[in-house]
Symmetry: C2
DNA sequence: TTGAAAGCGCTAACAA
DNA sequence: TTGTTAGCGCTTTCAA
């Protein structure tokens, strides 16, 4: 790899001049010199050493994308349609902006922090942080941080000194509408299926509770279909829940994949979807159209979410302070074939 | 961020000593010094600047993962279940080995080459290169390169000076077995669905042709269901192909996603799967169990493929020459519900 | 308009 | 066993 120094030597000029034309700081360089340098650059196929550049300029052009995984899951996190969809658009946007993406996946915030610091990452995109995770990151990091789908308390946000931005979704409202959609169909016994009770899923649960309440339906904790999503247990877990589903009119699932797998489990126990039980998903990722029946689900605009996240982060990196600390997208129900109006009650 | 220099100053010793204990080169340092340094390192939470480290040591600990995309596709490449599954295990393995992954997605090899060189990437994982793509990369790069699912001619391989390794699959044999499975069920008119005629899919096509030949079935180019996979055209393309499917007993698809979408298109034109037409997929990714009917497909071990690729690359980076230039995994047919024995011919 | 030189943080050859 | 020092390739201040 040829270096600037060498080029300068060949051209009989200083490294400063070469560096200047490389960076288009041509105000201070004669037209003639510019051409001479440009031509030679082309000829030798100069490629800058980014490590050196980063070291000298103290900026890396790396955007760190941080995903905190839970322990063992049935599926590699990157295989989740929502995650891979998100990552796809994020990667694209980062690349378009001339930055590089580095992926940090870990269960351990401290570990992530280390790596992010070691690379001198210019900015961070944080997915699904809980509690004070994001704050811990920010405190040690003090560079632009954008969170995605993160719920933290006002108190914690205040400690961010105005440099917290979350790109989120109206999870509660979206789920409320989903459940309302089901009650409007005449369903009464409605279960809520998720593998956790935190963050995003907690808000969805609240939306679910509120819709039930407004419909005058009582909730019991048995209606929370808690999935054990470990690799070894997920099948058994679905089977168990499908067994319980006989007593329900509808089951709302916190992701399309879960909805799809749940439908499979229902089939196994002889329950027909939607005739015997309606099933809803969330996200409107491609499992919702591959599944049969196709999934009635809550659509969210993944592309927009990803683009907004990177756009916001990039602006912050360029020193533009964020206008608001929350950018919240609106989801909406998409009707497909996994739901229908209530039959059981009518005939039973 | 505290530096080694500063630490050395505080501790009243040289940077070499500090650097040595950081890197565990403790043979040359007294026990006492080691402890003193370690303790202080902990205390101040020292994090090395990787840019500096890379620059000085001339190695980046970055593994470049290169994916050459085709033009516009209906789906972001990272959303493809096969790709995201692969990336998931690769990321994991890279991380476990203490390396970093940098993703380079582009249509343009030259562009990729630039970035890879700029970062001084330690090794490269190349996906689905065609023709002399991989060779071009190697020629400009001359560091360890492992290809995945790459078919190139012997001539080209020879130019690699023994440093070419491909992690592949018996695509031809796998497809041969898939088609044989279909002919054994009594199917005669069998179509082959793909969006291209190169690389992997070309070999699969050859397996298909051979199986047909052995079964004494004639092939006509109309039996190649060529999918236009652009965003705007894919639906229309599937509809058109589903229309053609009426005259067929079975359709072999080059991916599970395609199989799944094709089944959807068949339903639209009133064709039942598998009663009217059998459909097969490839890869055995999760659409094959989410779809209804579940997909009969050709299973390949993605996890093993990914692990082998990284393992091989890491060894090469450590200077161990590869034993063989081809590591080829064996796929096998998995029976599910999207295929059945031939009815149409029996009754018609 | 151009150049010299210091320094980014780290490694490693060499000296002590 | 420890320290000095010369780079790695680039940016940038300051001087010419």
């Amino acid at each position: 790899m040829i270096t600037i120094k060498e080029i300068a030597r060949q051209l009989n000029m200083s490294t400063t001049t070469v560096s200047n034309v490389i960076h288009g700081k041509t105000g201070e360089v004669s037209k003639e010199t510019i051409d001479r340098v440009r031509e030679y650059l082309d000829e030798v196929g100069y490629v800058p050493n980014l490590n050196a550049q980063n070291l000298a300029a103290n900026q890396s052009h790396i955007i760190g994308v941080v995903i905190k995984t839970k322990e063992e899951r049935y599926m590699n996190i990157l295989s989740e349609p929502f995650v891979s969809g998100m990552l796809g658009v994020i990667e694209q946007e980062i690349r378009k902006a001339g930055y590089y993406m580095m992926l940090y996946i870990s269960e351990d915030i401290a570990d992530i922090l280390n790596k992010v610091a070691a690379w001198n990452t210019d900015g961070l995109l944080l997915f699904w942080m809980l509690d004070d995770d994001a704050l811990r990151v920010y405190k040690h990091y003090r560079k632009p941080v954008v969170c995605v789908d993160t719920y933290i308390s006002r108190e914690v946000i205040d400690q961010f000194e105005n440099s917290f931005v979350n790109i989120g979704l109206e999870d509660e409202q979206g789920t409320y509408e989903a459940i309302k959609y089901l009650t409007d169909l005449g369903h009464k016994k409605i279960a809520f299926l998720s593998d956790n009770r935190e963050g995003v899923d907690l808000r969805r649960f609240r939306g679910y509770r509120q819709a039930l309440e407004e419909a005058g339906i009582e909730y019991s904790d048995k209606d929370f279909f808690e999935l054990r999503s470990g690799k070894d247990e997920i099948d058994a877990s679905f089977d168990r829940l499908a067994g319980k589903a006989k007593k329900y009119d509808a089951v709302f699932c916190c992701s399309d994949v879960y909805a799809s797998l749940f439908i499979g489990a229902c089939e196994k126990v002889g329950l027909k979807v939607p005739e015997d039980v309606s099933v809803m998903g969330f996200d409107d990722t491609f499992p919702s159209i591959l599944s049969r029946p196709t999934l009635t689900t809550v659509h969210q605009d993944i592309e927009k979410k990803g683009k907004l996240a990177i756009e916001t982060l990039l602006k912050m990196i360029q020193g533009v302070p964020p206008k608001s600390d929350q950018i919240i997208l609106k989801p909406y129900v998409i009707e497909r074939d996994s739901t229908s109006s209530r039959h059981k009650g009518v005939t039973g």
